[in-house]
Symmetry: C2
Subunit: 247 residues, 2 copies
């Protein structure tokens, strides 16, 4: 499995992804799921991937190659808007699906894949998209300002309580790490290192990108604080007034 998270905030964007892939418990490995395309001062594009690794790697490679070759078609460095960037990712996903699906299905393999794509192009505001397996996509807004893909459920409750568009960037990154901690604790298929990228609106370059592994001092301090804090909060929770009859 995988867990990836993207947030669209008034101050900018926060992205996080884990690094575990598994094809059964006896085939566990580590792959990066965060991909950054940058033209400093002009545009920054981040893609997070979940699902069939061969499918998502092919999508990323096709897009990287088009950008590196300066192609006219499917080049995210030339796209006039983040909407066009999302369409390029959706089209690449469709192309890979069309080419690979019959072969994957013949082997009973999972053809599912999805992406979170976000960033900013000079002249536009920062934008964030959730690209489905079918290549169609939705865009985040003030009502729904974050997207998750992969193993999304364990880490959702804390996001629901804390994340609003007005949340500042560093607190949002902290919240992302707490959400990852809850997921990692509950599910073996999600694991560090966590790739974390914080993008401040209108800077048009990456200023903060962290790779957080198991031994990361800050992540461990945050995990310890959160675990202890939850237990302390729980210990002080109000008692029910039921007549329990319990001795």
């Amino acid at each position: 499995m995988t867990y990836c998270l993207g947030m669209l905030l008034h101050e900018g964007l926060v992205f996080a992804s884990d690094s575990r892939t598994s094809a059964g418990v006896d085939s566990v490995s580590q792959f990066r799921k965060m991909f950054v395309t940058e033209a400093p001062g002009e545009r920054l594009i981040v893609a997070l991937t979940a699902g069939n690794l061969a499918v998502t790697q092919e999508v990323i490679t096709v897009i990287d190659r088009a950008a590196a070759a300066g192609e006219d078609e499917g080049n995210v460095l030339l796209a006039d808007s983040m909407f066009t960037v999302a369409r390029i990712f959706g089209s690449a996903l469709r192309d890979v699906h069309n080419r690979d699906r019959p072969h994957l299905m013949a082997h009973g393999a999972d053809v599912n894949a999805s992406l979170i794509v976000g960033g900013q192009i000079a002249g536009e505001r920062p934008r964030l998209f959730h690209i489905y397996a079918a290549g169609n996509f939705i865009e985040a807004g003030d009502e729904t300002c974050y997207f998750q893909i992969g193993e999304t459920k364990y880490g959702k409750p804390i996001l629901e309580r804390v994340v609003t568009p007005a949340l500042r960037l560093i607190p949002a990154a902290k919240c992302a790490l707490v959400s990852f901690d809850s997921t990692i604790k509950a599910n073996l298929s999600v694991a560090p290192p966590i790739d974390l990228l914080i993008y401040e609106r209108d800077r048009l370059r990456v200023l903060t990108r962290q790779r957080i592994d198991d031994g990361d001092a800050y992540f461990n301090a945050l995990r310890g604080y959160w675990g202890e804090g939850l237990r302390a909060l729980f210990a002080d929770a109000p008692d029910p007034d039921w007549k329990s009859g319990i001795t």
Copy 2:
């Protein structure tokens, strides 16, 4: 969907279940998923159900009928142990599956169903079982002292952090309610009223059973406390020491 939870603790057992069933968002209704069979002073048996409602209702009805009729076979009131009780539930689930599966599959309906069954029979310790769709089952112990069925993921992180066999009964019930709160917040297919039953070891009767609806004063106080507490805890979380470059 559904969310049900059973815990096996040194002091006894805690059971909780929601009341929402849905067959699509335009067919949402309210059904009880907790079923209690009691012979005060001699045995107490609790079953929680998830999955296809027609299947689980049939299982419960078959078992209730056998008990009411005093039958020799499949009678949980005559079972010599909770292990035998779990077998009776598993067999009833298999019988219903065998009878209904071809017809359900012909209509493309979901035949999945699972149960949590626990309780105590005089002379035995309290025991707790998770009964799978195939009618086989596993028993809780000190290493894994709780079972969830249905929509399990949102409510798992708090259980993982708090629940151990040594947790006392009232705190365990509070933790169950917090776990339900997280699930209800994240997923429309789980909803109050929550049926909550706290069983104190060796009492062999129900002393505490609550039906907690949306307007329940204690549940709302607990939800408010927990939501506020989480936000306050989060607000005080340690800051990272990364050079963020963020202005």
